[in-house]
């Protein structure tokens, strides 16, 4: 007992000593990047710490996006918050409303003499995270957009041209029908993120409003409007295609069953984040084809541009000036073209600055990896409109859950597409109202 007590004390002092001894300012960053992405984050942090000796940055993996955000909020309430926290895009509404808790990035950079120009970021990325005055409230880090992956071997077996990706939803129907009929695969296509890929991006891609007040950018007191004719038509089709065996549901949220169905060759086509590319390549040995999201050719304005997902870094209030100095310094390092290009090429996330995109081009990355720039082309296809620059609603984490639930009700046959989307809008709007009441 006595011995273990002494050992414990020795260990504690060993842990505390370097902190007390060093003159470096400690900066903490909580993030949600696990697995290979987490290792890459550690590499970036190690690179930063080695690049200077004034600050010491510690990155802590806090679990999923939801867990990281909840942990940061709980820590804030207890006065133990990190300096920097990674929050996913659907948490943006919540973070923006918490004015006393966040230190806007544009202000942080200004206050600490860092050169910060929002115009160097890709418009689709910057637009998502700026307020109505064009100020950037959080630092873009990892952004992606859904794209289409397909199995060229199956296309060939079904008698399709493996070099031609389906371009429209009519193509999708014809191709997948041929694939299933020929027996080349048992399922035509599957998708991750019903909410993000098959509703939000569907709307933006067809230039249809997701909500009022420019998809919620103008005011937190906004309403959802995703029960329009294009969305209803698409969901009706998905239900029909599911019935016909052309489409397979991959599960709620990110769609845990979708990736295995594509990897195993059960489904010929798969839609998911461009950041899934590394995972797809690592898990498959068939010839992989990439394409943009399909669209309905008869909808005017389609295809517009797709919207992003992913996360940004938020600075929380309550830290010392020296720490903020370090945060600002790190953010500048993080958005440098070299770091960003490396991160983009390794993960499949978008290069968030134009400079990183140009650098990747110069390095010949897109020549070596054909299709790796599809995501960038897709978000940059057209100048974003009020309908396609993103979305911002309070309680959106829960609304995403509602979208999954209503989609499941549609697929199980208990609701029509119109009813499911009407109910979705109604339930979503009451969640937004609750948010307005709590934050108003």
């Amino acid at each position: 007992m006595q011995r273990s007590l002494i050992a414990g004390l020795a260990l504690t002092s060993a842990l505390v000593a370097p902190l007390a001894a060093s003159a470096q300012t400690e900066v903490t960053w909580w993030h949600a990047m696990g697995g290979a992405l987490g290792e890459k984050v550690d590499e970036i942090v190690a690179g930063y710490n080695a690049s200077q000796d004034q600050y010491h940055l510690t990155a802590v993996y806090k679990g999923s996006y939801t867990e990281t955000m909840t942990a940061a909020i709980a820590a804030f309430r207890a006065g133990e918050q990190p300096d920097l926290v990674q929050v996913f895009e659907v948490g943006t509404g919540t973070m923006m409303a918490a004015e006393g808790a966040v230190y806007p990035v544009y202000k942080l950079m200004e206050d600490h003499g860092q050169n910060f120009d929002p115009s160097v970021y890709l418009p689709a990325v910057a637009g998502y995270y700026t307020n109505t005055d064009g100020k950037m409230l959080s630092m873009p880090f990892n952004s992606s957009t859904p794209i289409l992956y397909y199995n060229k071997d199956i296309f060939e077996a079904a008698g399709l041209d493996p070099e031609v990706a389906p371009e429209t939803w009519a193509d999708m129907e014809a191709f997948t029908q041929q694939i299933v009929d020929s027996g080349a695969a048992t399922c035509g296509f599957t998708t991750g993120w019903i909410s993000w890929a098959q509703l939000e991006n569907l709307s933006a891609w067809h230039n249809q409003p997701i909500g009022t007040n420019e998809n919620g950018f103008g005011s937190i007191d906004s309403k959802l409007t995703v029960n329009g004719p294009v969305q209803v038509r698409h969901w009706e089709n998905l239900a029909k295609w599911q019935e016909a065996g052309l489409f397979k549901y991959g599960g709620p949220g990110g769609g845990a069953d979708a990736a295995p169905a594509f990897y195993s060759g059960e489904c010929a086509i798969y839609m998911n984040s461009s950041a899934s590319r590394a995972g797809v390549l690592a898990n498959t040995d068939f010839d992989l084809g990439l394409g943009m999201l399909p669209y309905y050719a008869d909808v005017e304005g389609a295809p517009q541009n797709s919207i992003i997902g992913g996360a940004t870094l938020w600075t929380l209030t309550g830290a010392s000036d020296a720490e903020y100095e370090g945060v600002a310094d790190f953010l500048t390092y993080l958005s440098s073209a070299e770091v960003q290009a490396d991160w983009h090429q390794f993960t499949g996330y978008l290069p968030i600055t134009t400079a990183a995109y140009e650098l990747s081009k110069e390095q010949g990355y897109y020549d070596e990896n054909p299709g790796a720039d599809i995501a960038i082309k897709q978000v940059n296809l057209n100048e974003p409109t009020a309908n396609s620059k993103g979305l911002r609603f309070g309680n959106y984490v829960q609304i995403r859950g509602v979208i999954d639930e209503e989609f499941e009700a549609l697929l199980s046959g208990s609701k029509t597409a119109q009813d499911a989307l009407d109910d979705l809008v109604e339930r979503g709007n009451s969640l937004i109202e609750e948010f307005v009441e709590a934050n108003g």
Partner: protein
Amino acid sequence: MQTKRTTFRSYWLPYLLIAPQLAITLIFFIWPAGQAVRQSFLQEDPFGLSTKFVGLKNYVKLFHSAEYLASFETTVIFTLCTATLSMGLALLFAVAVDRMIRTSSAYTTFMVWPYAVAPAIAGVLWWFMFNPSVGVLTYALDVMGYDWNHRLSGTDAMILVVLASSWKQISYNFLFFVAGLQSIPQSLREAAAIDGAGPVKRFFTVVFPLLSPTTFFLLVVNINYTMFDTFSTIDASTAGGPGQATTILVYKVYEDGYKGLNLGSSAAQSVILMGIVMVLTFIQFRFIERRVQY
């Protein structure tokens, strides 16, 4: 009541002795519960920057919410199914083991193993076996002509969580039933046998009534288990879906509070749950226990 009373000479010693337990109860039970009650009357943003007293609004809203009322129904179905299945099977196994002479201890050991599996792992295990794409059991069901898909069918999802939750609990119930069976005097069974009662009749007229204290105890434990401890099983297997078909009350507290950051509503739900536990415990001990013969 004929218990032996021990009295302390000193006045403060008994208080000192119970102080640690009291402190733990206060810090870990009473204080958080008090916080929940307080929070349930408030409306607050996640960061706690603006707090407003709203009286009973959080409660009123809950009882006007179709989802919340549906969650009540789900909880009742889930609890009854899980308790019945896990206790029924455990009793069957216990009776079977009780009849064995030499191998009973080996079987008992095997039966206890699942209890050592963490609930989240149990959830993942069942999720794998019933996975719509790669699950072994899904495949077997498909061969038999049943299209299993707990992603879309609420019934399938409910069956999945009931199986996953009961499977773990069978071990626990089994141990208590075995112990209960061993404490029934052999002479009673022999007497019944001599009177001409067959094994089935002996079980229902002699063994089962004598087991009633164990059964009652397990009923209380199982209802509490299914209502509160199955959270991780559900989270790992169905995550409350599809369409909230497996969202029991506890899961909804988590969904609204943790994922949705709606602390007021989540706290109100916790307070309602607290009330349910109090009522259930009261009914069980006040009315049912009296009828159970010890």
